[in-house]
């Protein structure tokens, strides 16, 4: 099947050629992705090619993404903490750097397909969307490169899709992605705004998605508290985050899934479904023992506080 997707194959070969550990990972990769995922990756590569990238530059971006993770893993192994602990540090060191951010966002977008844990979480998200196909307001906090947001637009039928991000760059990037991928969604009410989520004063949301945000902020519980305020007991609330995942712009260290769930409970939610995906194909036991990254996804229900 993978032979049909020339650009995707070319990208994977380029990555594997340049990094032996990646080569080992990609040796059996062709069986890992579904046809939809191959189509998605091929489309993503074409999108970036339209913006002036090519397979070589994309592979460089992805390898830089991986290299940055490794660099932070070194620090984490030695000191047991993330290098940055404040939004100000991350803003000054990384978010202000336009070329870094461009390469980083490309690497992150590609990881939706190329990184096992991201791919599995996205696959689970799509399955769960089937149970929450209709509603009023769909809100995503921090849509970033737009994969969750676009997937929701393409697979559900809400009266309004709102994506809010504090970063103007991310909002613009997401708008471009939505325009490119959602050509058949012209009848849908889609709004992407640069704004502080805490300033949201719209109607209660039937769905709230906050993917890979909580580990980027100093006080994730404040985000959960605000989500509690703007949802009702039947809202679809989907969050993803990670434990022990050093990256350059990760600030809040969740040491365990128990810690995440304790915070969720304190903020007035119960977990009604969950997915844990340890890194590198590890079992949960091995990941916990080695303090390796575990990607987590939760579907929550608002309950009393």
């Amino acid at each position: 099947m993978s032979k049909l997707f020339e650009k995707s194959n070319g990208l994977i070969k380029s990555i594997a050629k340049k990094n032996l550990l990646q080569q080992k990972y990609y040796d059996n990769f062709s069986e890992e992705m579904t046809q939809d995922e191959w189509i998605g990756l091929e489309s993503l590569i074409k999108y970036y090619e339209n913006k002036g990238e090519d397979v070589e530059s994309l592979s460089e971006s992805y390898l830089k993404f991986i290299e940055n993770i490794m660099e932070e893993q070194f620090y984490f192994k030695q000191y047991g903490e993330y290098r940055c602990s404040s939004a100000k540090e991350v803003e000054e060191q990384f978010y202000c750097n336009v070329s870094y951010m461009k390469q980083y966002m490309i690497g992150l977008a590609l990881s939706t397909y190329l990184l096992d844990s991201h791919r599995k979480c996205m696959r689970w998200y799509k399955e769960k969307l089937e149970e929450y196909k209709e509603g009023g307001t769909w809100l995503e906090i921090g849509p970033g490169h737009g994969e969750h947001f676009i997937t929701a637009i393409q697979n559900t039928n809400y009266s309004k899709y709102l994506g809010v991000d504090i970063s103007k760059t991310c909002v613009e990037m997401c708008k471009e992605m939505v325009k490119y991928t959602c050509c058949d969604a012209e009848n849908k009410n889609i709004c992407l705004e640069q704004m502080d989520f805490f300033a949201y004063e719209g109607s209660l949301c039937d769905s709230v998605v906050i993917g890979e945000v909580l580990e980027h902020v100093e006080q994730p519980q404040l985000f959960l508290n605000k989500i509690w305020e703007i949802t009702h007991p039947k809202s679809f609330i989907y969050i993803t985050t990670v434990t022990n995942c050093p990256q350059k712009d990760h600030i809040y260290l969740f040491h365990s899934t128990d810690e995440i769930e304790e915070m969720i409970s304190k903020c007035g939610f119960e977990v009604i479904d969950s997915l844990f995906v340890p890194t590198n194909g590890y079992s949960m036991e091995k990941a916990i023992k080695k303090k390796a990254t575990i990607n987590v996804a939760y579907i929550l229900r608002k309950v009393g506080k």
Partner: protein
Amino acid sequence: MNREEVLLRLNDIFKDVFDDNTIMIRDETTAKEIEDWDSLEHINLILAVEQCFGIKFSMLEVTQIKNVGEMIDIICCKI
């Protein structure tokens, strides 16, 4: 310390990191031949090598090492 001595010491590190006393590395040994040698264990391996030999790898060296032989070459240059 000559190359042979580095190889012997490195072999002990590999046995320790991968918890496998049967490992016998050679210059051509790559990650493909050691099942548990993934990106995370690579970090553990590099940290152990740095500590043992009193050296520091650059990130470029860490990500570009293709086999044990190249690792030994780098170690010999740095000690």
